[in-house]
Symmetry: C2
Subunit: 253 residues, 2 copies
Amino acid sequence: MLFLVGAGLSEGGLTEEALELLKRKQVKVYAEKYTGWFGERIPDLEDKLGKKVTMLERSGLEDNINSLVDQAKKDDVAVLVSGDPLVATTHKIACIEAKKADVKVKVIHASSIVGSAIGESGLDFYRFGQVCTIPAWSEHYKPVSFYETVEKNLANNLHSVLLLDYDPKVGSIQPSYAADLLLQAEKRYKKGVIKPSTRLIVLHNLSLDGEQKLILTVEATKTLRMGQGPTIMILPAKMSEVEKESTAAMLGV
Amino acid sequence: MLFLVGAGLSEGGLTEEALELLKRKQVKVYAEKYTGWFGERIPDLEDKLGKKVTMLERSGLEDNINSLVDQAKKDDVAVLVSGDPLVATTHKIACIEAKKADVKVKVIHASSIVGSAIGESGLDFYRFGQVCTIPAWSEHYKPVSFYETVEKNLANNLHSVLLLDYDPKVGSIQPSYAADLLLQAEKRYKKGVIKPSTRLIVLHNLSLDGEQKLILTVEATKTLRMGQGPTIMILPAKMSEVEKESTAAMLGV
């Protein structure tokens, strides 16, 4: 059997159900390297579980699906993933491959960064539109489709979660860079969606040491740099009165 | 200090961080009655924590915010809520009131039903639009705004999460009833958004005993009845090839 186990956002984020499973003697535990809080805490985790945790090298689960599914035909195999499983396409592909091989899959859920960010922003859960990603640009590939998502969301008076492109070795792209890309996208589309005065909520290291929650303009975000931990941004639509109060309370402003 | 503690979706859904906090001798623990898996498991939870857990009667946190915030001025007070905190407006109001009273708040996140439902559906996380609720109708109040949300989502080729109105004493409204309201809304709007052949994903008792995951037409849902546990539905937009495979694997069809 194959278990996809959510590790949540911080060291204490494993659920009781997850811990019970991972501690079972016959369960072999793997963890995706570079992603999630456990990347650097494997020795602590091994102590806690009383067993070896094997790191999945290279791109983690993705490159190892077939061998893991193969092993799960006879053994109980648990793969620890960051946040909540099944958000990443890779996890779904693991389920598809397992099904093809007639291997059962069980998912153990945990808190996810998007869910936590929405909650911590103080904004109304029911007023979020489609999520989008601000990807790092390369010399020949400068995607701006996030602009269209934000535009549609704002047209429907909906808030937008902006995921920041994440490189496991360096962390999220900097808010300063993301703000610059938002403004560059505006220059390309010229629809007035992003202004220097547009407000952003920036959430860094949620549930981790050094958690930071800020609300500031795109202009001010242009100089905002954070540490290596995960960062996520929200571009709010027009806030209701309750949302204004709630955001102020949640962000401590 | 006031702690809002997510209980997750099932008895094993408390995180290590949450359990550590709740077990601390000086922390007074309250729980919202009628909501969440812990409603009926309080004696087990008390055994596990080695202390009394006080049920919040009537509408739970909502009617008790002021007295809890007042108590949190001098004591450590933890309130156990279903799923992930801060999704419900009540939790945000508690944060606002705490801030007014100069009481610090800490939130401990857990898995939420919406996040889990999106993952378990096999659909692409990035292709979900605004969430909506199908509310129970009364003689004089028959809201159909969910239809407009689904319409907008489908126009943008986005999936819709349909929350089913929840009465703590009887559970979610039945899928059969929700399907009927979808069709009645169609009769009112006549825009061809909901057809008898429109497919729905129905997720019942996620992460609990008796978990059920189905994909079926609105017509077939008209006769679908579930037990008292939480039920949530998803109305998918046009699925990609990977989504079709993934949904088939996740739903076991």
